[in-house]
């Protein structure tokens, strides 16, 4: 039965939480406590990779909240993710202190060689972790709030909203590319050394970040769950179905939209903040509209309106991208292979896993666990 669940979790939800929690504990454990040659050992590469996926999953979750349940197709969520990432990146940058190549205790390297004399005001405070952590939520949240307040009040909907969110992230990308922004321009922020005193190149730190990401994903999932299974969630779905009808029974649609949009942006910001220390770089490329579109697509693959699906969709993403790229470059590869015997350093099963398309047929035939059926609107 496809009705929204009461505040409980549902079977798939519990299973998902168990898996995330288990991964959050097991992966770090197997990485740290087993010897490298043990069959149980999880290589660091995998920890980093999966940590990244967890962050993407959280991002996908945040998109699913606004798209799956409220019908807001945001093509700019990558911007919130990136802003969260930048907030964390700025802190990590300050943490480097005088260990930078120029040894300047205050200015990050890129400022030194571009001749900046003093730290711009917006860098103040980022030497404190707590400040950066708050900013990672607050900046995306505030942007979403302001942006949403305007857009929803003006009743910008549908593709118009999608495209202006895209314009937003595109504008931010161009702005962050500018070196004058004082955020590292195209190269972005890199060369991080440690976070809260833990060396980022230590496996223990990586595992800690991994566990933290798992926890964040679980928490995000619970928050989303709580939202969508409350009456508010029902209002959101109603808005998605028939926005003006919802107004006529007295709900202030723009407030509801603004609320989820902001919450969702903050979740995306959190995802970004966890992502950056794990991959070690944040640059304006993360604002690229294509990134946001990709993120939306994980949701599509996982199944719109099913939170679990969205989170899972994020995992398949990289595979798929490789597949698409490789599929067509095979011709090149074959030619090259003839020349030298080399092989692609990709797992052999790479070709076997197609993205999970939710097969939806005739109206009414859909169903799924928590997914409200969609009637072409």
């Amino acid at each position: 039965m496809a009705r929204a669940m009461p505040l409980g979790l549902g079977r798939s939800g519990i299973a998902f939480l168990v898996i995330v929690a288990a991964a959050g504990v097991l992966v770090p454990f197997l990485n740290l406590a087993t010897p490298v040659d043990s069959p149980w050992h999880v290589p660091t590469t995998t920890v980093v990779l999966f940590g990244k996926y967890l962050c993407f999953a959280l991002l996908a979750l945040s998109i699913d909240l606004v798209w799956g349940y409220c019908g807001i197709l945001s093509l700019g969520h990558g911007a919130f993710f990136a802003l969260g990432g930048y907030a964390m990146g700025m802190h990590l940058m300050r943490e480097i202190g005088s260990r930078g190549v120029y040894g300047n205790p205050v200015l990050p390297d890129f400022m030194v060689f571009l001749n900046w004399k003093e730290l711009p005001w917006y860098w103040y405070g980022f030497d404190q972790f707590w400040f950066a952590a708050i900013m990672a939520l607050l900046v995306p949240g505030a942007l979403a709030f302001v942006f949403g307040a305007f857009a929803f009040r003006s009743r910008v909907t549908g593709v118009y909203l999608s495209i202006i969110t895209q314009a937003m992230t595109f504008a931010l990308m161009l702005a962050f590319f500018r070196n004058d922004m004082g955020l590292g321009g195209n190269n972005g922020l890199t060369d991080f050394k440690d976070v809260l005193g833990f060396d980022l190149q230590q496996n223990a730190t990586r595992c800690g970040l991994f566990a933290l990401s798992a926890a964040a994903l679980a928490a995000g999932f619970l928050v989303c769950r709580a939202i969508v299974s409350s009456k508010l969630g029902k209002v959101l779905v109603a808005v998605r179905d028939a926005e003006s009808r919802t107004r006529f029974i007295g709900y202030r649609v723009e407030h509801f939209k603004l609320f989820v949009f902001t919450v969702s942006a903050m979740m995306a910001g959190l995802a970004g903040a966890l992502y950056v220390p794990q991959v070690g770089i944040i640059n304006p490329g993360e604002f690229a509209p294509a990134n946001s579109i990709e993120a939306v697509i994980w949701v599509a693959v996982g199944g719109r309106g099913t939170l679990v699906g969205a989170a899972l969709g994020a995992r398949g993403r990289q595979r798929r991208q490789e597949l698409v790229h490789r599929g067509a470059s095979r011709a090149l590869a074959v030619r090259a292979r003839r020349a030298v015997h080399f092989r692609h350093a990709v797992p052999a099963e790479g070709a076997a896993r197609p993205g999970r398309y939710p097969p939806r047929q005739a109206p009414g035939a859909a169903g799924g666990d928590a997914g409200p059926a969609r009637n072409g609107r």
Partner: protein, 249 residues
Amino acid sequence: MTELVNSLLYLDGVTVSFDGFRALNNLSMVVARGEMRAIIGPNGAGKTTMMDVITGKTRPDKGDVLFDGSHDLTKLDEAAIAELGIGRKFQRPTVFDSHTVLDNILLALKGPRGVFASLFARLTGDERDRIDTVLATIRLTDRRHELAGRLSHGQKQWLEIGMLLAQDPALLLVDEPAAGMTDAETAETAALLRRIAETHSVVVVEHDMTFVRDLGVRVTVLHEGSVLAEGSLDQVSADDRVIEVYLGR
């Protein structure tokens, strides 16, 4: 002025035009507290447009629309108007397709409409009972868990009436409630509306004269955006102009 004080809904000189076409032309009308009023009139007379104006969907070019003597509806948006206590059934049934019948009613149920109120809302026993009553009234009790999108046209029509009942507004605007119903249902609907009208104000638009007769209330005939005639059904149906433009010979 007494009119204004006693009235629940007060329209004065309302004009709406679309690209030069006057859908409402200096329309004035008063609905008193606890009154039920039937509105008839040819297709395109402006009946639905009038409801659009009252519910805030369309802004009039000029004229006053007052609710309860003091609220200027032309200044408010749809949600605010709904919260004042004006509920509406649309001519074309619009329900939330991907919600169950039950949830459709639940959403319409009278209660706080704020974001955080909704986030922490719990269903009370009272509310449960009210939902059950409404479901029974619209005879969809056994389909309560089905998605509204899967109802037939007529059932959606009923569901919308149910939502209106759940909303329990002071003023009900009902646009063609009998369309697509059987005669038996039509009669029942009329009875239902009469019952509601005991405690609420109601404005009904219908083309089914049997139904209007069943209601037994004062009738206003609209034509080309303004009032053509007003009175009991028998009075207006005797009016030559009404026969000419509306009833036919």
